[in-house]
Symmetry: D2
Subunit: 222 residues, 4 copies
């Protein structure tokens, strides 16, 4: 799995703080990014996140290039509707020698790993044979497994990212999308550390767990 | 593939027309659904669609139960973000004897069909063997193919449906989602015939084709 | 202020519960609404809301006709983006004798009320005089006050409503939109009592207050 | 009216083209922005827009600081739901000496202008008098007119902007939001000329007019 932040709103924290300041101060739009010390930017951001007034953080967007995740994961990822996606198409791109993801549990069990890898080889062969028989890619791909690797570019604003991290960084999320979410969080923390300092599962962002009997126990249930 | 309209805004066309009337007439909100003949409802709707003023048609929602489509199709379907989805989970539900979709081209080619069906049997066996080795469903599903059948419930408003039909009823859409879109359109036409009388690909809804060299030629390119 | 629920997804709680059941049970789409006792429906709903798994409740939509609210309120209302609106247009409808909202504080202060009402009369006259001078409605309306009454039809799904109630039923919300939200909540509780039994400000829905020093004190701050 | 593009996705056209390339080419995510000549970027963009495949252009976002527009305009603007807004609050900010917009038609008619300006003075006085009587800002603002100037920061992605320009750059749009849209288009053309070269009303973007009898006649009706 490879996750790279390829683009983002320049100076994202100042942009967000300026937007927040617009709501509450009689400051003109023209000079909204100026006369605003780093300390003030920081204070505004902390206050917003603490009070849960999240709308101004939408002004900062983050674009990721992601590769080496399974189609299972991408199917979960694209369910987050407040985001934009451009994904490698199995209709247009040949998948003769597709790469695939191996779940860690399977990877650690030699017997399971053997039958898993054999199945992947079988599927590759079947795919190739179907292509040879004149089947189009868009139909041959019906044999491709969930494990098949995909690549995509996605853009989220900071508010939608906070929601994504809340759901997907939780230990109850599926391991692969959790790994993806953790890497995405790591990337954005590098460029917007205050904006994302409280991002993560509810036990981190809100000090609460709502998973009931399924809780991992990291903190006491609410 | 099975598509059933299981619920929708009662009297959808009257609801939409009432909303449209609200914008342009000094009529009170209380009696907005009354004093409004069927003929007036019809006229309002036709005018809205003709002028492309689509926002009032959002007030009518349609909920479908869909089963027997492939995971390939559902992956395309859920990319439509202005809609709500509840899909059968491969993390929670056992898929030992999953049903699968056979693309028509493969179904019509005995040789292709044979290797396709054999592959599906192989995958079923591998899935079962992984489960026997203690692999959890959420990991065993990595071997499941795109062909695997899924079920879901989705809700679209009429405006989002119009957009969906525009893109997916086109002959250039992939055959399976096109079949799905055609069935969904058939269902809503039964209960809201005027609202959807011009729904479909741009050649029908707008009298235009933008597919350029890829056009099916049904109408002349714009 | 008049708020009327004019349309909604029939049997909203059963529809939502059926969608939720689709995710976790191997039940076919065709019979998804059947074989499902009222008790089961109720249990499913309570579990969803308790765990905060809100996506299935999006399948139920509610359409309101609202009149007698100020343009101030409608400006706040339409900021809720996951909803559909059709609002009375001041560009197309004459506002010579517009009705207006009087804030309770002003209504209870005879002196303030007098200058307020006099101002409203002035504005009406100015509007009429501008129209007489050939000014179009879309320009004459520039003198109309925030107090001016408006009517609209809006449609929210249950998830977006929960969010709306969380923000706008709070004692810290502005009095008019709070009154509107309270009335909308009252309306939907009549037709979907379980779906909305925990709807309201965070002190009710989550047992938490995040308003810090601004808290009304109904419950202790988190 | 002042419109300033204060932030945007760096290198927006390359970002969009890279996302589009991801869908159709077997290129890795890691090097997606590299090995891509300016000419290739340009060709990709032109093809996307020509074919109406607009989803990749969502990856570029644009943030504007806007001031000196009326509350009438901002009410129309915020109806565009696929965007983010932070607007100057009349609940929190004193409006004793509010600035206001004068519609050109009124400005050019001395008699109309006189009664318009007198009304604005009256309203200012009434606002001040209410404040003196202890009325809170959030209630005193009920007398403020639609003409009252506001400031806001908004962020749109390129796809939502295309839709905004299609509706609001049309000669049938209200004059003020049209002026705003024209200025926003001018701003983004400076930094993403290819992405927006065909942006504008349908007569420009699609070579079509759907306004029927209301058409301005710039091109023949469809």
């Amino acid at each position: 799995m490879d996750v790279k932040l390829i683009s983002f709103t320049p100076d994202p924290e100042r942009t967000v703080a300026a937007a927040a300041r617009m709501c509450y101060s009689p400051v003109g739009a023209k000079r909204i990014l100026e006369d605003f010390s780093d300390k003030e930017v920081e204070d505004f951001l902390r206050k917003l996140v603490a009070m849960g007034h999240m709308s101004p953080i939408e002004h900062a967007s983050f674009t990721f290039a992601i590769s080496g995740i399974s189609r299972s994961s991408s199917h979960q990822l694209v369910r987050h509707r407040i985001a934009s996606y451009s994904q490698k198409s199995q209709r247009y791109i040949k998948e003769e020698d597709f790469d695939y993801v191996i779940p860690p549990f399977i990877n650690n069990n030699p017997e399971a790993k053997e039958i898993y890898e054999k199945e992947m080889d079988n599927i590759r062969n079947t795919y190739k044979n179907l292509i040879k028989l004149g089947v189009h890619r868009e139909d041959a791909r019906f044999v491709l497994p969930n494990a098949c690797e995909t690549s995509l570019i996605c853009t989220f604003n900071a508010r939608s990212l906070h929601n994504f991290f809340k759901l997907r960084c939780c230990t109850r999320a599926q391991w692969e999308i959790r790994k993806l979410a953790d890497k995405m969080l790591e990337e954005v923390k590098k460029v917007a550390p205050i904006l994302f300092e409280k991002a993560g599962p509810p036990c981190i962002s809100e000090g609460i767990c709502r998973e009931g009997a399924m809780s991992c126990g990291r903190i006491k249930n609410h």
